[in-house]
Structures are given as structure tokens and as C-alpha cells.
Symmetry: C2
Subunit: 160 residues, 2 copies
């Protein structure tokens, strides 16, 4: 525990080159943890816009926002989020979620879709529901959880 | 009409450099038609294996097969198919579908998932159902159809 107040403001902003170490640290945690993410080619998508959540100047989270499909599917946005473990439970995910919905609207997207929310990641599923998403797909046994074995993932969606 | 018999055998095989013009011709038709496909980054995925369906030595269709996700989602395959307009209704899609399921099994995949089957593409939806797929997700108004406007797309899935 760091002793920071849970009310410490979270500033979400466009990522800069100076954030690279912080973002890489979060990615390393996710790989080591292994319970929530697949690393999809989307992380290399040149169309992705990159943002970070900063708490007291530290990179507490990051997300990327992009079209979920090209061309005739390009009006639907997709985003992927990650929170540093030491900032869990501090509202960083919610701040990034709200920021990304605003940003997607601003860019003219008509909806946001998450393609692969691991069903056992209850905090994420609950957060997205409070932000207006609903489950529109259930992908059976599609994520190999490191301790639970094959578990389902959800497709989640909301209009903007 | 070409006068070929509907029973002309379809040979599905690995794509070679000599197929490039035939494949490009099919891609151009799809772009011009615009009713069935989004062109996703998957078409550039270096992990994709490429196949063609040949009828009497002509490229009548093509498909690519790849992991749908990386890492902990890598046991689920994904495939994208296209049939040349002049070979429509000749069983080319079905031959490629069956071939891709065999190939995916051979490669050790445990399931096949299609992420974006346009709901108004009735021939495709019906074909995948006869090949054992079911709809596991309904993505609302996610495809901008050139004449019908915004229509749904399906996520379809089957175990192997």
C-alpha cells in the first residue's frame, strides 16, 4: 500500500515518448499475470491512438483507441486498457473508460465494442456494465486462464 | 454463365505466387461489391496461411487461416473466405469451409471463430450453419451496407 488517498485525481492524457517506460512496465505485469489479456495485433495497429492515466505524475494506466474494423465497419471503436497493479482499485480504469468514450464520440465513432473481455475478470465486466456496455457475445472456452483453464470471453458493446 | 457443370471438382490447395493475380481479382470484386466484407488488418497478418480453391486451373476462391487471438487465445482459429463472382453457387465456399476446418484441426486448433459475418449475407450464414457453426454474438448496426444502411454482424463459432 502506498498510502495515497483513493480520491487522488487521475489525469488521462495523450501518451508521449516519456511514458514509454511506464507503459512497458504495465505490459510486463500483464504478461506475468496472464489472467486477463491476450496480446492481439491491435497493440501494433498504426491507427491506434495512445493515452495514459497519470496519478501524481506516475503512469498508472494506459489505453489505446482505434477503429474496431476497417472500411464499412470503421464507425465502431475499440479500446484496450491496462492498469498498473499498484494502482488497482483507485478508479484508474473507470477514468480511462470514461475518457475513451468521450474521445470516441469526439472522433465521430457511433459505438464502442470490446472483442475479448475475459469472463472471469469480474472487475472489468462490472465496470463496463456500469459504463453502459452490455454483453452481445459469449465466446466459449476461448481464453486459456493460467489457473482456471479454458474460460469464456465476452464481446461487449455500447452505442455512443 | 460459363456452361461448366455444377459438379466440376474444386481443388483447395496452398496458395502460390502464381495465384496472386487471381486472388487480387477476387479482392477487387469484393471491394466493388461492398456488401459482405470489411477489410481488416487480418489480411496482412504474417501468421496467416493462404489457400486457394481452383476450378479447372482457375482461381475460383481464396481463404486465409490464422489464430484469432495471440497467446492465451491462440487455440481458436479464424478464417476469411472469398469466392469469385463468376464461380458463385458452385460449391467453392463449402469446399473451402470444409478444407479450412480440416486444416485447422490438423494444426491443433480447438475451435474456429468468425468475428464478423454480415447478417444480411444469408448465403454465408446458412453455409456456416450447415458446417456446424452457431451464432454466439450479435453486433448491432456494425456494418455499413452500401444499400441497406447499418446492419448487424454475427460472431459465429464451432468447436473442432
Amino acid at each position: 500500500m502506498t498510502g495515497r488517498s483513493p480520491l487522488t485525481p487521475v489525469v488521462v492524457r495523450t501518451a508521449t515518448e516519456g511514458d514509454a517506460d511506464g507503459v512497458l512496465g504495465i505490459a510486463r505485469e500483464l504478461v506475468a499475470d496472464g489472467t486477463t489479456y491476450v496480446f492481439a495485433p491491435e497493440t501494433l495497429d498504426p491507427r491506434a491512438r495512445r493515452f495514459v492515466a497519470a496519478v501524481e505524475g506516475e503512469v498508472a494506466g494506459c489505453y489505446l483507441l482505434r477503429p474496431n474494423q476497417a472500411g464499412r465497419g470503421g464507425h465502431v471503436a475499440n479500446a484496450s486498457y491496462a492498469v498498473a497493479q499498484r494502482f488497482a482499485g483507485r478508479g484508474v480504469g473507470r477514468a480511462m473508460g470514461e475518457h475513451s468514450l468521450e474521445e470516441a464520440r469526439r472522433l465521430g465513432f457511433k459505438a464502442m465494442q470490446f472483442n475479448f473481455v475475459v469472463s472471469t475478470n469480474g472487475a472489468a465486466v462490472a465496470l463496463w456494465k456500469t459504463l453502459g456496455f452490455r454483453i452481445v457475445g459469449e465466446l466459449p472456452r476461448t481464453f486459456r486462464h493460467p489457473t482456471l483453464g479454458l474460460v469464456d470471453a465476452y464481446v461487449m458493446h455500447r452505442f455512443l
